[in-house]
Subunit: 219 residues, 4 copies
Amino acid sequence: MAKAATHKPEAGGEASAPASNRATRAAERRNAIVEAAMEEFIARGFAATRLDDIAKRAGVAKGTIYLHFKDKESMFEELVRTVIVPVVARLNALPPPTGSVRDLIETFAGNFLKEVIGTRRGDLVRLIVAEGPRFPSVADFYYREVVSRGMAGMRALIELGIARGEIREKDLARYPQILIAPAMIAVIWQSLFARHAPLDAQDMLRVHLDLIFGERSTT
Amino acid sequence: MAKAATHKPEAGGEASAPASNRATRAAERRNAIVEAAMEEFIARGFAATRLDDIAKRAGVAKGTIYLHFKDKESMFEELVRTVIVPVVARLNALPPPTGSVRDLIETFAGNFLKEVIGTRRGDLVRLIVAEGPRFPSVADFYYREVVSRGMAGMRALIELGIARGEIREKDLARYPQILIAPAMIAVIWQSLFARHAPLDAQDMLRVHLDLIFGERSTT
Amino acid sequence: MAKAATHKPEAGGEASAPASNRATRAAERRNAIVEAAMEEFIARGFAATRLDDIAKRAGVAKGTIYLHFKDKESMFEELVRTVIVPVVARLNALPPPTGSVRDLIETFAGNFLKEVIGTRRGDLVRLIVAEGPRFPSVADFYYREVVSRGMAGMRALIELGIARGEIREKDLARYPQILIAPAMIAVIWQSLFARHAPLDAQDMLRVHLDLIFGERSTT
Amino acid sequence: MAKAATHKPEAGGEASAPASNRATRAAERRNAIVEAAMEEFIARGFAATRLDDIAKRAGVAKGTIYLHFKDKESMFEELVRTVIVPVVARLNALPPPTGSVRDLIETFAGNFLKEVIGTRRGDLVRLIVAEGPRFPSVADFYYREVVSRGMAGMRALIELGIARGEIREKDLARYPQILIAPAMIAVIWQSLFARHAPLDAQDMLRVHLDLIFGERSTT
DNA sequence: TATGAATGAGGTTTCATTCAT
DNA sequence: TATGAATGAAACCTCATTCAT
């Protein structure tokens, strides 16, 4: 890690020039492997994914993978971690609540849908659902880092909504899952049934929020 | 094991035991294989399941599987069909709507939760979510036989609820998924996070129905 | 084992005809694998031996090896056992001592040399010396089954020789290894240095016995 | 580690430290590699030894090995030579025979046992026995430099003993191997069977010499 | 000269599928 | 029909060797 700064301290300005010492290139390779592995694992699941294909897609030799990961299982586990970390960072960087709770949730969930539905991120969720039971450590990590935090955040918002009188159903605070449920369903729906019956996730979200907050009077 | 007596059971007359003829025994074997395969596929996923284990669990020889199924893929596909058929039959045999729509849904969904959450049937749902993208024919079949019918049924109930004034949110009829969402979430939640935070699916369902129908006045 | 007699009880006389039911053929295959593995392990040592070559030499597919042995290590261990067992049987079937102790030892050791020096059996000894430290279980087995028994037998003979006045050096009974040493040396010598300086093991044995029993008066 | 100071030690004058110039450091590295390789080859045999481990143990990078040796095989061959050379030097520097032949042999063999049994040198003997057949050049070298010289020396001693009347068995001169045999056996015994039955090599040697020279009258 | 990341051939092992019995 | 031994393609993983730095 500290090595990155060692051999070629970048000389100050000028920058762009060599652009790649050993450590940098190693990190790039690792990233390429993570990228490629994500694609393959999502497309085929853990067991059916071949390291050969990951290597080919990442543009490295098979052996190179083993310089970065102990074996296929560890690769899968670390990979999920690696991909999830920025998501967590995002969650933590949420702006403080201003405006109505409904607007807040609508904005947040809207963004979520836009960034998740039909994207690789969404597929990652499905991958975790699919492989979780075989990779308890992955499920645990996902629960700890994403689910439990997300739940806590939702609960806080719901309580705020109740306090402000926007939400009437007081028991909702006990089940923040209800708030998330349609989004989850949308994610799964898209990857399984999109070609039979596409789903307008944003509109469905609006209807769902109407159930919770009551229908909008004017908008 | 008992097989010693199996080989020529009808040695006596010609039709002495019509119930236990070749066709029946074959069907029994096929059932045993289906049962065993379900368990294994659910426990390990398609790719990681070994035919050896299925055969062992079913108490047949490995070769026997190939007398009933063309290959592993076909077995998986047929198997999902086989298991789903009774579910569909159930859906079709629903009693005509009597009483309030809410009671109807509550009863139905309550039963559903009881029979699905934490049972092999629930795992089947997760299995389809997991393997669907690799088995479009499975996803298609599931959509056609279960999802689309379920959706249609839900939509009909919702429209009835709207007509009777039990449901205020008219747009809900466009998204019957919202009605199902918490149940789906509960299924997935149980298999991934039950040990971190068990979920009272029945109670969550009640809260969700309160959102849709309004809180119960007396009960 | 008992299966060998099951399916085709050989019909009485006639014999030669089918000659090979399933169990028999399996045993033949196993033998072929053991034979081939011996050759390869002796020629290259454990680590450098390829299962591919063993399979090829045995005339079976690579996978077949795994029907008989758990993995390469177990194969090596079981193989040494398999090959050593008849040797042990031989040792146990030695005739009771008649004639002079010297004649007895000379005959026995002579036969030993004839059957071991320059044969695969001799190479097995070298193999055990070579791989023993990496396969304690093999060394243990060899010590228990062959070495300790051989030592005990030698000691008994030496004590008999001392009692009869044929052997003067009483302490020899404490080191039966001395009796064996030249034979062992001969085995190793042949496989390492034969082409530089062939060794007449039988004659060397005679000289060694002269040291122990005194030179023969007439012969 | 300490390497930080290594890079330019002679920065001062031009010949400030002639002892620690490039050539010397290279030789030191080569020695470290030889040492480390010996340990590893002895512990695992040729094929199972990894250059990675040798490099790690020697404290150099893997690539450095290739600056000193062409490849793994050459390294093994050169290494045996390197380690054996001092042994040969020792043999050549033996003091001229004074005192009785028995004392001479007893002293020499006693020292040999002390320095070889249970030491790395003894393991080297076993290593050569183990790998010799796969490395004829090693066996040849060992025969030429050590065995044949040792044999010649032993033979001279035996002839001296016969001439002086200390040894009665005249044919012994044809088989100096007999003199060495117990020592060889002891070496092998220790590395294979020490934990089952430790062997007092010095005492066994004494008994063996008693056989050759006759029991000591007084001592 | 020294490094160690990268390579890829080659090894062990697994497992879906076949087929003689 | 049923069996299960046998097959061999293909997977994962290792490690001697190379080469840019």
